[in-house]
């Protein structure tokens, strides 16, 4: 599973992308967040308050209860500020 981070989430985690081995117990984005939070203090900080984080699975916006599978690209980022 490929995980992408942008903006301040990328800074807290110290990486823009990471590959993690798919865990069978991970069914949704929410399950994935629980696993990721245990990776480091940076992950914990970045994903502490999910109301501040937007999620995309395979580059499409989804909610936290959206299902994820082994070959998905899951991205975490703050609300957008372009334009």
């Amino acid at each position: 599973m490929n995980i992408r981070y942008f903006a301040w989430l990328r800074e807290h985690i110290g990486a823009s992308s990471e590959d993690i081995t798919y865990d069978q117990t991970v069914k949704t984005v929410s399950d994935l967040v629980d696993i990721l939070r245990q990776q480091s203090t940076g992950h914990q900080k970045a994903l502490a308050d999910m109301t501040l984080v937007r999620v995309a699975v395979n580059q499409v916006y989804v909610d936290i209860d959206h299902p994820v599978t082994a070959h998905d690209e899951v991205a975490f980022f703050p609300p957008v500020t372009g334009g």
Binding site: F6, A7, A56, Y61, V80, T81, G82
Partner: protein, 156 residues
Amino acid sequence: MTIRVQEDDFDLTRIYSELREAPTGQHTPGAISLFVGLVRDMNNNHTVAAMTLEHYPGMTETRLTAIRDAAMTRWPLGKAIIIHRVGKLYPNDQIVLVGATSSHRQAATEATAFMMDYLKTEAPFWKSEQTADGVTEWVSTRESDMTARTRWQETK
């Protein structure tokens, strides 16, 4: 090219000429609406020395294309274009251009505002600002941007 995400600056005169020409098999436009967003030198009472724009390659282009397509469906447009810059920018630099052509002004101006409002709330870009003393901060979202987008769901 109707969707562009690029580091380079864009030439307004050239884009205007492209928009002015009739789309293939259609009449010449009666109206061109253009919006250009620039880097401010002040934001929230502090001086902005520079700005860096990050984006999500792939998803950005997909979202911008969807926004443009939605505008093309909603209004009778001849052409519609969205250009957004990424990387390091300085005060007064051009950041974004949204343009639409139509037979009449209302469709062109409304479509331009619509695309800009959706771009602001859906296209995965993030700005960080550098102040004169070298402090870098991520720009936070504005409630007014979300309100601006919501109006398109209520009308029409």
